[in-house]
Amino acid sequence: MASVSTLKRRESRRWSWVTTGVLYAICIALAVIFLFPIFWSILSSFKPPAEASASPPTFLPSRITLDNYRKLEDYGDGIGQYLFNSTATALMTVIGTILLSTLGGYGFSRFSFPGKNVLFIIILATLMIPFQSILVPLFLILTNLKLHNTLLGLALVYITFQLPFGIFIMRNTFDSVPRELEEAALLDGCSSLSLLYRVMLSLVRPGIITVGIYAFLNAWNEFLAALIFMTREERFTLPILLTSVRSGYYGAIDWGALQAGVTITILPCIVIFLLLQRYYVRGLMAGATK
């Protein structure tokens, strides 16, 4: 995980053990605070349903059971189908968002063209409308395009709503890449597109990863659009399954099922995020300018 510059820094840094200790203590304390609710939820998901909502709450489970998870089996076509739907939609969203955001961000960053500011504002405005407000019109459009009840249609909508964030980030990222690199490449006779591809891409990777992660998370967790745009149950995604399983009459919640849902939602995300850790290493940019 360490790069050359990090090592160099460690050599030259004169931190006392005390400073390091204090910093670690702070980090760990914060980590405990952040992680505790999740840890507690996961722990409770393995308690028998009666114990998951016991009063007063028990700390350790009296016994480990998968009862809360079994509730997920009985819903519709089974969790496998919904996992597939969620994964497929999320992947399509990630690919589409990264593609469009990188292209768009590059365009807004490096070029000047008529209507540029107006277009940027319009794209940004996508953020400013609550989804509930355009639910019905969007559904009408999707139906007209025969994209209702398709994962592709859902992904296209998700991509659109990720664009403001994605383009904004990519534009900022491109902006901080020094021009000298581009000028050098252009002098060598590169076209804009291949310039983007060959030279810039590795430099803006952290930005792309951020955009990709956020796109994935939103597609993975999104509930309302997935529910409204899919007319048949076999197209439902994971959040809908998790909501239905825990809901009862008059808003009654099955706490055990909630915990199981939290656990299932988190696991793939942890894995992915841990895998992508190395793209956040400091010094990625520093190396480029030397």
């Binding site: 659109t160 904004f168 902006d175």
Partner: protein, 308 residues
Amino acid sequence: MTDQVAPSVTVTNIARRTYRRRRNYTGLFFVLPAVLFTFTFFVIPLIMTAFMSLHDWPLLGERKLIGLDNYVAMANDRQFWNSLLFTTRYTLLITPVIFILAFVLALLVNLPLRGVGIFRTAYFLPVVIGLGTSSLLWVWLLNDRVGIINPILSSVGLIDRSIVWLADPNYAMIAVIISVVWKTVGFTMILLLTGMQAIPEALYEAAKVDGAGYLQRIRYIMLPLLRRTFALALVLSVIGSYLGFDQFYIMTRGGPQNQTISVVYWIYTNSFTYFKLGYGAALSIVLLVILGILSLIQLRLLRDDTAF
């Protein structure tokens, strides 16, 4: 490389000013796919929503054209103005909390400590859960009978009896803010972090040579260079707070005593509880305009010498 560090001008900015932007239509082609998507799935529905706002449009049943009546009704809608006020107050309260915390966290995980990736993941992890689920999680944690927060707080002596967080006018808002901050601060942290990592190491080295201490380096090098990232994070956070709905619907149900009804909550109630889609549409359009103005103001204020 530059030897000096001036507050808001860096090598890249100088280079940018002397570098003529290619003024032709090439840029347009790059942004075209995004524009197409936005047009199809945002602009057109938006126009339809505006169209709906001119009608008495029930969720079920016949619609009726009523022109600007919805907008007129809005002026007299006390709940709307209360919601606007509340949402503004909420945003003003939660934004600094998120940003200060996110900045501190970003600084922490930017340090060359061993295992910092684990901390990064830990702080980011709550972001991974959806807001609806996270809100329910906190309802459970804060529950006075089955929740774990009250027992923990009383076992360390911070409180002497169980607090009913979400029914207590003093604590309800705090509880919602804590849960939202917990869930979202990791995201702002990552944004700031990405910006921090784009700052070349050499600038810090140079400043250190000149005798600048840690806080000075942050103030004179990091903050100015973070301006763009900061602007982005701020705009996103403010918009997100303004559009807050799930947390209020799930945690406080707009209570206690209808005090925590946000603007989107009110839109939702009108559209899907009262089935008055037309009025909900009108409220949405007004909200869009307000947010647009707010965002423009923010971006203007945080400009760093280039057209935002």
